[in-house]
Structure formats: structure tokens, C-alpha cells
């Protein structure tokens, strides 16, 4: 077990290396490098002399492998460089923006699990009754509504009927907790309603599958109460795919915040990545991708370890 964890932790490095090489390579393959983008963005036609000077200043005239190794070595030492466009320190920005994005995702994850798993259990136990149908329809409605559309509708309905508009700007939770919650509330609620349906659906599916297993019949045959059969025998096994899904959906939630950060004007990590992609801000894109990738791989490892705890039939060796 301990060996397995260490092996997986060590494997994060080659994976991150692979991804960093991929992103670095892809971004250099596209026509139009950062220097060209920066100069033509200001409306003027790029003067070759200025262009050359800028390329030199940004280090873009050095051989590719030197650029890559320099960048990688700086990152290993915790120096993420600065944005090509706004010249802000990337490391500082990540520290400022990541907490907001993570908080939205965590709030959403918590809400959707808390409501989604019970809905799935009820749906499975009362299969094909009106309650099952009602719960499924409601949760599927939330799943299928595009999050950015729900966000727009909330803004629209608030403006037309309630004279309300979601607060703009942001505060950190340890500075002004109430303002912070109010500002991040809508994206979190919208994301949760989206994930809730997925959780409920998966819980229902796997519960139904497990409820058909022999050991459930055995448990019932020996006269156990239905509640014990459902919670002690069925739920624990049914939760395995749900946990997989939760691990995956957490990354999805972080991605889902992109569009919502965009609508509600929250300066999180996702909206920054989109911005940087649009402005060809290579240094931000490549650093963000690697930082996010390492974070998600750690989450994946935790999910895998959690399988083993849930399903002793799976052994890691």
C-alpha cells in the first residue's frame, strides 16, 4: 500500500513533464508568437527592429530546448515567471486566484454530494414510482441546462423582477466571510445543481445494480431490516463508481467555474486561463496548465486510494 502510494507520487513527475512538453510544444507550433501578438495588438504594424528587441527581451530568440529547460528549472524552484502581457508575477496571481476557484468548486461539490446521493438512493429504492420519476426529472433538468444559460437567466430574472444583480468583485473568505459567500454563492449553486444530477443518476444506477446481487438476497433472506440491507450492504458497494465520478467531477467543477467566473465577473484561475489563451500569453498558459495538472493528479491519487478502502476486493501491490 505504502509502496503503491510512493510509486504513484513519483509517477506524477513524468506525467507532468509529458504534459508540460506537450503544451510547450503545441504553443510554439502555432503561427504568431507572443512578441508578434503583443505588438500587433496595439494596432500598429510590427516594426522588425522592435520585434527583434522584444523577442530578445522575452527570450524567444533562444533555441527551443534552452527556453524549455530554463522555464522548467524556474518552475521547479517555484519561480513561475511573469505574464508576457501584463507583466504581473504568475506565482502571485495563482495564489490570489486559486483560492476563489477552489472555493467555488468545493462549495459546489459539497452541496451536490449532500443532496445528490440521498436522491439517488431514494430513486433506486422506490424504483419506477412517481417519486422516482419526479426526482429523476428534476435532477436531469438541472443536468441538462447549460450552466452559463442558468447563470444568464439568474441575472436576467434578478434584473427584471427582483431588482437584484449578483455582487461584482470579490473578497477573500478570511477577510470578509459574508461578502465572500454572497459573491461566490451563485456560481457554486449553479455548479452544484449540475453535479447533483450526475451524482444522483450514478448512485441510482449502481444501487439498482447492487440491489440485484446475490448477497443482497442473502441479506434479506436472513431477515435483516431493509434499511440495514440498503445502507450497510448495498450502499457501500454502490458508492465505488460514485466515488470515481466524484473525483472526476471535481476537476470538471473546476473547469465549470470558467464560464461562470466569466459571467459573474469573478477573477478566478479559469477565467484567467481563457484570457491568456485569447491573448497568446504563453508564459501564463504553460505555467497554469502544469500547476493545475499536478493538483488534479494528486486528487486522482486520493480517489484511487479511496476505492481500495471501499472495495477490499481491489488490492494494490
Amino acid at each position: 500500500m505504502r509502496k503503491y502510494v510512493i510509486r504513484r507520487l513519483l509517477l506524477i513527475f513524468p506525467t507532468a513533464l509529458l504534459l508540460s512538453l506537450l503544451i510547450f510544444g503545441l504553443l510554439r507550433v502555432v503561427p504568431g508568437d507572443a512578441a508578434l501578438m503583443l505588438l500587433t495588438d496595439e494596432g500598429s504594424k510590427a516594426d522588425p527592429e522592435v520585434l527583434k528587441a522584444l523577442r530578445h527581451r522575452l527570450g524567444l530568440d533562444r533555441p527551443l530546448h534552452v527556453q524549455y529547460v530554463t522555464w522548467l528549472w524556474d518552475m521547479v524552484r517555484g519561480n513561475f515567471g511573469e505574464s508576457l502581457v501584463s507583466r504581473v508575477s504568475i506565482g502571485d496571481q495563482i495564489l490570489q486566484r486559486l483560492p476563489l476557484t477552489l472555493q467555488i468548486a468545493l462549495m459546489a461539490q459539497f452541496m451536490s454530494l449532500l443532496i445528490g446521493v440521498p436522491i439517488g438512493i431514494i430513486s433506486a429504492v422506490r424504483r419506477n414510482t412517481w417519486l422516482d420519476y419526479a426526482l429523476r426529472v428534476v435532477s436531469i433538468l438541472f443536468l441538462t441546462a447549460p450552466t452559463f444559460w442558468v447563470g444568464l437567466l439568474i441575472v436576467l430574472v434578478g434584473a427584471i423582477w427582483f431588482n437584484y444583480s449578483p455582487p461584482i468583485g470579490y473578497n477573500l473568505i478570511w477577510d470578509k466571510p459574508i461578502e465572500n459567500i454572497l459573491q461566490l454563492m451563485w456560481p457554486a449553486i449553479i455548479l452544484a445543481s449540475h453535479g447533483l444530477a450526475t451524482t444522483a443518476r450514478m448512485t441510482r444506477s449502481t444501487m439498482l445494480e447492487v440491489m440485484g446481487e446475490d448477497y443482497i438476497r442473502t441479506a434479506r433472506a436472513k431477515g435483516l431490516r431493509e434499511s440495514i440491507v440498503v445502507f450497510r450492504h448495498a450502499l457501500k458497494n454502490a458508492l465505488i463508481p460514485v466515488v470515481t465520478l466524484t473525483g472526476l467531477s471535481f476537476a470538471g467543477l473546476l473547469g465549470g467555474t470558467v464560464v461562470l467566473e466569466f459571467i459573474f465577473g469573478i477573477p478566478g484561475i479559469g477565467s484567467w486561463l481563457v484570457q491568456s489563451i485569447q491573448t497568446h500569453d504563453y508564459s501564463v498558459v504553460q505555467s497554469l496548465v502544469v500547476v493545475l495538472a499536478v493538483t488534479f493528479m494528486l486528487i486522482n491519487l486520493l480517489v484511487d486510494l479511496f476505492y481500495g478502502w471501499l472495495d477490499p476486493r481491489i488490492s494494490y501491490s
Binding site: L19, L143, T144, A145, G252, L254, G255, V294, N300, D311
Partner: protein
Amino acid sequence: MASPTVARTIAVEGSVFQRILRRLSQAARLARRQPLGAVGLLICLIALFAGALAPWVDRYDMNEGSAAERLQGFGISHWFGTDEQGRDVYSRIVNGTRISLYIAFFSIALGTSSGYLLGIVSGYLGGWVDMILQRIMDALLALPAILLALAIVAVLGAGVDKLIFAISITFCPRAARISYGVVLSLKENVYVDAARVIGASPMRIIFRHILPNSLAPYLILASVGLGGAILLEASLSFLGLGVPPPHPSWGRMLSGAAQQHALGAPWLVIVPGAAIMVLVLGFNFFGDTMRDLWDPKLRGR
């Protein structure tokens, strides 16, 4: 007097008309038992027809507007109103169906299927194959779907085929991960041991024993995936990195001008979003029902 046997023989050998009637009544019985599935199928069929026949069922040119008719509400001449350029929203929605379905089907056919198979092979074989495949999948999974798709689209540039490629890449590792989890559990089954003992090759075990038994999760994945692909395409288009003009994309219809005019012309926000929601809903209902019908473990209970 005809005995029941004779009556049945007549029914079986009945005219084409009678056979169609019988099929219809069977379908009606199924629809009564599975109302959500029937609704889902209906939505999917309507969308398929609308998409296939878009040039014939739209009422105006989707890209031609007239300034005199801009920002009209629901009405007889423009069912879903007109946008800020006076273009007919209904015609744009119908043509948007075409492009949405096209992208979704190809993305899933490419992404989910290949990913699912890779996950099963890697989960069953284990060892170094498993290690290498999982590392590649981890590298792809290490970014949320929309960010991965965004990055690929940003690098490759705009275009429908590039969009399909970007979306399918995001579905591949997700499918692999689910099937990997399924196969870890499945391969502990006694019938897999039995097959191995009588000397079946790993490929035979995967295709004859593991794959059929992991069909239900695949169907759920593929059907939900279709909805998910539509949502992903819409999100990318909403951010301005998806379907390029002149194709009218539902996602792009929601960005920009629609938001500026939202207070005076709320249908510009409501209609495209509702279209996305209804179509994704159809795929979900349909997929859910397929699962109930096709999973032999659940049949008859």
C-alpha cells in the same frame, strides 16, 4: 368455429397492414411502460429530422436579416422572434440543431468508444501496458474537460473538424477511467477465471466476457456523452472559441448581442438555451431507458 391456434396463424400471416398495426401496438405498450424513454426518443427523432432537413424546414435564410424586423417578439411571421440584426431565430435554431448533432455524434464515436476500449484493455492486462496507458490518460485527465478542449481549440484554431477532435479527446480518458474501474471489479468474477483456466487468450476474454458485461456502463456513458458533447460545444461557442460563423451555433447565439439586448428581448437568451436543454434532456432520457432495457441483470424486475 376457428380455434385459437388458427386465429393466431391468421394473425401471424396477416397483411402488411396488420403487421404494422401490431408493431405499433407493441411500441405503444413499450412507451407506456417507459414514458421518459419515449419522450426522449421523440425529442431525439424530432431533432434528427430537424437537423437532417434543416435547409427545408427553416423559414428564412439563417444569416439574412432585415433592419426593419429587428428584435421582434414571438409571432406568426417569426415564431421565435428575431435577433438584433433582424434574423429569424427559429431558422437559426433549426440550423443550429444540425451542427450540434453533427459535432456531438462524431465526438462520441471517436472519443468515448476508443477510451472505453483502452480502459478495459489496460484494466484487464495490468502491468506495463496499464502503466503507460494510465499515464497518458492521467496527463489528459489532468485538465478539466472544458480547459483541455479550450487549450486544443486555441492551439489548432477554429473549425468544425478541429472542434470535434478537441471534444473527443476530452471524452476519451473519462471513458477509459470508468471502464477501468468496471473491469477491475469484473475480472475478479469466477467466469473470468474459468475462461482463463480453459486457456482463453486475454483478447478473447476481453471481447467475449468482459466487454458484453460492461455494456451497460458504456451505453450510459455514450448517451450522457452525447448530451455532454452538445453542452461542451455550446460552452466553447459561448466563449467565442467554438463553431465558427456562418454556422449558427446555439452557444454563440447566447453570447454578445443576446446579453446586451436581454432586458428588452429576453427570448434571445431563453430560446437557444432552452433548445440546448431540451436536446440534452432527450439524450439523457433515452440513454436512461436503454440502460433499464438492455441490462440483463435488471430485465424483468
